[in-house]
């Protein structure tokens, strides 16, 4: 809801400011610009300036249905936005934990324009509304815990001093245990880590033995009571920590951050020491008297740094975990990428998707039509490809042959989708590279191609050619991409990514209808980001030629499979690579299905692609893969 930044009456000056705010709408898109384009929305043309940081946004724009995990992340984004802020929702009504929408509209460009018009009115009237309500959601709650700046493994609920070094513990915020928790807990156990952590500590405390230490000289530790050899004070009992490297890998508060672009709750101290967590370092031995150099309560820097990971340049540095996604500009929306940064270099990564896994029937019956719908709704970036995949597998299972004309129609539609998908990727990649022209141009073209019939597509041919020509001549593009994200030949690669390494992995090559149309797979061999870009550019022209050869574009028709029983499989070359579906039919119902998607394979590449790259290169390498988090199956 629109919440007044400053309460009070709507005076003349305020009216002016509110009008200005209504005219200058800045939006943060959830789940992202790629989905908006794929759904045919041009947000900038509708009058909302898109921004990268939630702090700069006044409108949170939610496009379509999103998974609960993404909604949680969106709620964190919403909480970071400066007031007055508003929520514009297109085509969905399930929003929890977000507050109710200020404006709801249907998921289409006219709907968007209409929604924005309403939003402007709402802003002009409500920006200084007297009644101010706060947005509150469970995942925003912070629990204050106390930790030692030097010993991040020391975490407790009450203030006090560090049992290891005697320093005063610093408060820091940890997120409350999420109520929701993500249904598939593969990406990060952030929401539970604090629980684990607390448990760890408790259990360890119970297990720990008693030892005695001097309050002034923490390095003095002995197992019997007595007095300190240095100052003569009576030693105090304390619980000894077992010096086992327990894993605090996710002590870092970034669990709250996956969603958000903010990192608000890191503080400098933690930030610079959070790297220690990763090495599973134990400071236990510090207590145990290998500190022969201490004359005062002295903190050895050697001990602090000796277990830090070494960067590629050999300097031990603190590493920080920084979340990129799920709404990070330039990355596929829904992709949660956490990079461990060593300065500007990526030391490690953790990638996953926050989208829902679509459930496939497994020994349960499902209507063929709803099976097809479920599969094609899964992937907003390439719905037709999955539609055809499902239809083809069912036809194979039922033993139905389709006519060549119908096959040509499908090829036309599939290739058109490939063009739109590649153009969408180009737009996103342009955003990633900071290449604004490409973002705008490719997005405009994508919207034009989306529902174009074959004549319109042929009319668009020169535009596409000039886009490709301009790209090939752009200075700096080569130096930005050549040698970045180089991949070796690997059987796990699919689609353009595989063809850029020189593997002829294309489901179309084995399809007789395609070969009859003169299809020949494109390939490059350098395997870097540039090669992937070139393969996709070549495929744009190739798809145009295929549409030309096929001559028709036919939207998917539901195939009647009657009450057939049998098993069948299908390969379809989606824009991201070959997808494979195996299913069994029983009396006209789908009872079992197994789906294999290209992005699932590619997700595992991220770690090798990003390691020891500079941040910009690492993100570009991830971007060049053209992942679709929506089809990733975990």
């Amino acid at each position: 809801m629109i919440v007044g930044a400053r309460q009070g009456k709507l005076s003349g000056l305020r009216q002016l400011v509110a009008k200005a705010m209504a005219r200058d709408l800045t939006g943060f898109l959830v789940p992202g610009i790629d989905i908006a384009h794929a759904r045919g929305l041009d947000v900038e043309a509708a009058g909302v300036r898109l921004v990268a940081s939630p702090r700069h946004a006044s409108v949170l724009l939610v496009v379509g249905d999103i998974s609960p995990a993404l909604r949680n992340a969106a709620a964190v984004i919403y909480a970071q936005m400066a007031r007055p802020r508003a929520l514009l929702v297109l085509g969905t009504d399930d929003l929890s934990p977000l507050p109710s929408a200020d404006v709801t509209a249907e998921l289409s460009q006219p709907g968007l324009i209409d929604g924005i018009a309403q939003l402007r009115i709402a802003f002009a009237e409500g920006a200084f509304r007297p009644e101010v309500t706060d947005f509150d959601a469970p995942m925003l709650h912070v629990r204050v815990e106390y930790t030692c700046p030097m010993h991040p493994e020391v975490v407790q609920d009450e203030p006090g001093s560090c049992p290891k070094c005697g320093m005063t513990l610093e408060p820091r915020e940890a997120s409350a245990n999420d109520v929701d928790s993500h249904p598939h807990e593969t990406h990060d156990h952030g929401s539970h880590s604090h629980q684990h952590e607390a448990n760890d500590h408790q259990s360890m405390d119970h297990a720990a033995s008693e030892e005695y230490t001097c309050p002034m000289h923490p390095e003095v530790v002995q197992s019997e009571p007595g007095s300190c050899p240095k100052c003569g004070m009576t030693l105090e009992p304390r619980k000894a920590k077992a010096s086992k490297a327990h894993d605090h890998a996710s002590t870092d508060q970034s669990d709250m951050n996956h969603g958000d672009m903010d990192h608000g709750d890191m503080d400098h101290g933690d930030m610079d020491h959070s790297g220690m967590d990763h090495s599973g370092m134990d400071h236990g031995d510090m207590d145990h008297g290998d500190m022969d150099h201490g004359d005062d309560a002295f903190m050895s820097m050697i001990d602090v740094t000796k277990d830090l990971p070494r960067s590629s340049d050999g300097l031990p540095m603190d590493w920080i975990d920084v979340p990129f996604g799920p709404f990070f500009p330039g990355l596929p929306s829904g992709l949660l990428l956490t990079l461990t940064l060593d300065g500007d270099t990526v030391a490690g990564s953790n990638a996953g998707t926050l989208t829902d896994n679509v459930t496939l029937p497994h020994r349960s019956a499902l209507e063929p039509l709803s099976f097809v719908a479920r599969l094609s709704n899964m992937e907003p970036l390439a719905p037709l490809a999955y539609h055809f995949l499902a239809s083809q597998a069912m036809e194979n299972a039922a033993g139905i042959d389709i006519t060549t004309t119908a096959a040509h129609g499908r090829i036309g539609a599939l290739e058109r989708e490939r063009i739109t998908s590649h153009l969408g990727w180009l737009a996103l990649f342009g955003q990633q590279m900071g290449f604004d022209w490409l973002l705008r141009r490719a997005a405009t073209m994508q919207l034009k191609f989306r529902y174009a019939n074959d004549q319109q597509i042929m009319a668009l041919k020169p535009d596409l050619a000039s886009l490709i020509k301009r790209l090939r001549r752009t200075p700096l593009l080569k130096s930005r991409n050549a040698g970045i994200g180089r991949l070796a030949q690997d059987n796990a690669l699919r689609g353009p990514v595989a063809r850029a390494v020189g593997i002829d992995n294309d489901a179309r090559s084995t399809n007789p209808v395609y070969t009859a149309l003169g299809f020949k797979a494109i390939s490059r061999d350098s395997g870097d980001s540039m090669a992937r870009l070139q393969v996709r550019l070549d495929e744009l022209s190739q798809s145009l030629a295929l549409i030309d050869a096929a001559g028709t574009i036919e939207l998917p028709e539901p195939t009647a499979i009657g009450s057939a029983t049998g098993a069948g499989e299908a390969f379809v070359e989606t824009p991201r690579g070959a997808a494979h579906l195996y299913l069994t039919l029983e009396k006209g119902l789908v009872v079992t299905a197994q789906l294999e998607t290209p992005s699932t394979h590619h997700l595992t590449l991220i770690d090798t692609l990003t390691k020891q790259q500079s941040l910009g290169d690492a993100l570009l390498a991830v971007g060049s893969l053209d992942l679709s988090p929506w089809e990733i199956r975990q």
């Binding site: 050895s300 820097m301 031990p316």
Partner: protein, 103 residues
């Protein structure tokens, strides 16, 4: 007694004193360098004051300040070079942990 000189000279003296304190008391090499920078800054203030109040016609006074600035830059460059090397070697730039550098 030349009262006109006092503000500058006392500032120079104070900076020098703070610099001495810093250079002696800090345990970290980088902080120690900061102390040295302050000592040199104190010297520069005095040089400029003398030039301005006593010998404004001699450019050599200004020249000397330029040399001090060079020395500051040299000190920084060498200091950081040493700091990086030590940090790489033993992971510390703490003076307490530089026992092998003791004369």
């Amino acid at each position: 007694m030349t009262p006109e000189l006092f503000p500058a000279l006392i500032t120079g003296a104070a900076l020098f004193g703070i610099g001495i304190y810093g250079a002696l008391s800090q345990t970290n090499l980088v902080m120690l360098l900061m102390g040295v920078e302050l000592i040199l800054a104190g010297a520069m203030v005095n040089l400029v004051a003398f030039w301005h109040y006593l010998h404004p016609d001699t450019p050599a006074g200004q020249m000397f300040v330029l040399i001090v600035m060079t020395v500051m830059a040299v000190e920084m460059a060498v200091g950081f070079g040493v700091a990086i090397a030590r940090f790489r070697a033993i992971g510390s730039v703490e003076m307490e942990e530089a026992a092998e550098l003791k004369g």
